[in-house]
């Protein structure tokens, strides 16, 4: 659904495929997350949010730029980012 929205943006504004969003897909292991809030605080585009129990949830998956700040700085290995290829967004 969000990928469709991204396709629309690309078609409407003719966004360069390099700058299309989302460029990454965020996955969280809730069992390993302690809710320290490091990733939420430092995510440059505000993809993540702390849920009701303090653990992190993906609030805006369409904004991810795949910078991997969260993956590199998670002390609990509870979050990782996989690249979204341009074809995957377009198809």
């Amino acid at each position: 659904m969000d990928e469709l929205a991204a396709v629309e943006i690309i078609e409407r504004k003719k966004v360069h495929p390099k700058h299309r969003l989302p460029r990454g897909h965020v996955t969280i292991f809730p069992n390993w997350c302690k809710g320290c809030g490091l990733c939420v605080e430092f995510c440059p585009t505000g993809v993540l949010k702390q849920g009701a129990d303090g653990r992190v949830i993906v609030a805006h998956p369409e904004k991810c730029t795949a910078c991997r700040w969260c993956e590199l700085h998670c002390p609990d290995f509870a979050i990782f980012v996989t690249d979204v290829e341009p074809e995957e967004v377009v198809q």
């Binding site: 069992n31 809030g37 605080e41 998670c74 002390p75 609990d76």
Partner: protein, 286 residues
């Protein structure tokens, strides 16, 4: 040209999944970040898991080898470098990584630290500097900044802190670098270089303890202390053009020294050779 796909979830191949997760450290602790950097550095060098040994002492950082699937030793307080020296003597081809906290490396194991550097034995010492004794409740350590409150310094700390990297340079280490847990890519790069160095390599990873020292001094939560690391650190190049006054309280990051000096186990092998030659001569003459 498409950007090369970077591999995700590298750590999964290196963690001991029989251990209890999530790990023991407080939420937001920098030690987990250092562990991730070590794993990615080892993975980047394409080392076999059996060729790497990770040794620790006691403390928060001492729990690190418990979670990784290398050859590991969890030893007594401050003696990680002593145990590692023994291992390196027996298995010189092994990459021995020693992880220590600041109290472990510089207070209880201070002598081992400077003499391992002087001897230049091929170990990789990673000192996670969180400025306090976190596990026992925030007593002041050799690196607690002057003026800070600690459980054992309720009116403010009055001792000068040890600069770990500068101390290692003076003691004669072959490679010395410092980075912070905020600059984790840089830290990973330094750890990878340190593992490859022949001789004693020290990487100081400046971290924080928001549970004990941070709470006592009202330095804020883990993200706030992380932001402090970002704002208070300068590179070696930037530090060169700064005055002493400006440098006060700043964390200087970078490679402090990288030199080629004879490594201890190599020299020891030569001694064994010479001794064997002499004994064989004696046997022949007899």
């Amino acid at each position: 040209m498409r950007r090369q796909r970077r591999e995700s979830r590298v750590h999964e191949r290196y963690l001991r999944h029989s251990k209890k997760f999530p790990n023991i450290w407080c939420a937001g602790c920098g030690i987990g970040i250092v562990l991730g950097a070590i794993i990615r550095a080892v993975d980047g060098l394409q080392l076999d898991k059996d060729d790497v040994a990770m040794i620790s002492g006691i403390g928060c950082t001492g729990r690190m080898p418990v979670y990784v699937d290398f050859n590991t030793m969890h030893t007594t307080h401050g003696r990680a470098l002593a145990f590692a020296t023994g291992l390196k003597m027996v298995r010189p081809e092994m990459k021995v990584i020693v992880v220590m906290g600041d109290g472990d490396a510089l207070a209880i194991g201070g002598n081992h630290f400077i003499h391992a550097a002087r001897r230049n034995i091929g170990l990789t010492a990673i000192v996670v500097n969180n400025l306090t004794y976190g596990m026992t409740g925030g007593q002041y350590s050799p690196t607690t900044p002057i003026g800070a409150l600690a459980t054992t310094a309720p009116y403010g700390h009055i001792e000068q802190p040890f600069p770990i990297a500068e101390l290692a340079v003076a003691a004669g280490a072959a490679f010395v670098a410092r980075s912070t847990v905020y600059h984790v890519r840089e830290l990973e790069k330094y750890i990878a270089r340190a593992i490859n160095v022949e001789g004693f390599a020290v990487v100081e990873a400046v971290s924080y303890c928001h549970t004990t020292l941070g709470r006592l001094n009202r330095w804020g939560t883990a993200p706030e202390m992380m932001r402090r690391l970002k704002e208070n650190s300068v590179t070696l190049k930037q530090a060169e053009s700064m005055s002493e006054e400006e440098k006060r309280g700043k964390i200087v990051r970078g490679i402090f020294v990288e030199q080629e000096i004879p490594e201890y186990t190599r020299l020891y092998d030569r001694i064994i050779e010479r001794a064997q030659q002499r004994t064989s001569l004696q046997v022949e003459t007899a």
